[in-house]
Symmetry: C2
Subunit: 230 residues, 2 copies
């Protein structure tokens, strides 16, 4: 609906890929609804995935023994995180919905997106003990993991060789988003797009556009072990 803000964190090297098209479809559909949509195109930005001392501007809290979690927490509090990180935090802060669009790499997100999680969701900003899980600092936001796979739906079935696809969603949805208090909408999965017809790929794009039409009416999943491991 008008006024809602969406951040799409997107990790694919090729605009012509299905991931590129899924991202474009989301921008179009959500904009049409009157949402304000921001895209972090990680490869185009050459986003830095490594968590290093460079993320802290100025002096360290303890330069004798570098502790990334402590240093970024301290730096956040005094406004001393590097500008690429604080810019992403500003986008997250403004967003009502975070969409992560990527190809599944090794049962997880590509390293460039994992680096976005590692560097952006620092203590003080996204969580601050005991404010984690249901009381995480990013509560009242929604998230959605939208991704493509190499393996087929059969391989990712319960009893399939790669196991239920939900098993691999646990670290991303529960370990990251839920930990920060962000509610999780059902994932959107396009299985093995490289092995289907052009027509089937168009159906995949249509299905995503259709889902987005009613996305604001969806209820989050119950992000607990039962959902993942029944």
């Amino acid at each position: 609906p008008p006024g809602r803000k969406v951040l799409i964190v997107y990790a694919h090297q090729e605009p012509k890929s299905l991931n590129g098209s899924l991202k474009r479809v989301a921008v179009e559909e959500l904009s049409k609804q009157g949402c304000s949509v921001t895209v972090s195109d990680l490869y185009a930005m050459q986003f830095e995935p490594r968590a290093t001392r460079n993320d802290i501007v100025g002096c360290l809290h303890n330069s004798e023994e570098f502790n990334y979690a402590v240093e970024t927490w301290e730096a956040y509090k005094r406004g001393g995180l590097s500008s690429d990180v604080s810019e992403e935090q500003r986008k997250v802060q403004e967003a009502d919905l975070l969409i992560f669009q990527f190809p599944l790499y090794w049962f997880s997100m590509p390293a460039i997106m994992k680096g976005w999680m590692d560097r952006v969701l620092v203590q003080g900003f996204a969580h601050e003990f005991p404010n984690c899980y249901d009381s995480g600092l990013l509560k009242n936001k929604l998230s959605l993991f939208s991704f493509t796979t190499g393996g087929s739906e059969e391989m990712y079935a319960k009893g399939g060789i790669s196991g239920d696809i939900r098993y691999l969603l646990w670290p991303m949805q529960h370990g990251i988003m839920h930990f920060c208090g962000v509610k999780v909408l059902a994932p959107h999965i396009c299985f093995a797009p490289e092995y289907v017809s052009e027509e089937k790929r168009k159906e995949m794009l249509n299905a995503w556009a259709q889902r987005l039409k009613t996305i604001w009416k969806e209820e989050p999943i119950n992000c607990s072990p039962e959902w993942y491991f029944k």
Copy 2:
């Protein structure tokens, strides 16, 4: 035993950290046994985690639409992967045992190590359909994930707020190592070292050294859903 080769892939920014000490202890103990030990110190190497066109030397197989998996597969076959990737592949090829030493970041490995997986374990080298899982191309090798956590053992218990620690091992152990045919030894986990005494941290280092004394007698875990989700 003499002659065995070990590759330690290590991801911590600070040599004085517990991860740094765990790495050092492993180098010392395994060298003492007569093993030949190689360390890939990812932060010190400023290892590139991003999967990009730069990983392919020379012309692309299809420059109209960049597909990382296809391009790296083709490049591998003609010896055209970038030198940092092929150097890591050489180390993997020679190793009998791969040890991954890292602090847990967001229920997974730090992005710099995920990038090592994304870029080094390319098709043709580590797997090549249908040679995956038990027939993966890196069979006859062992792997071991050794890591520290922020959360306590209670948080990572079954029924704990963060769920059984085994849940988050699925993508790393099954989705990556098992997929490539690598057998998986039981993980080595140091829970919440930042919240225990210096003496307890010394015990953690000792326990690791002790375990390594008989590491070559260990049997791999049964890397199937039952181990993870019972």
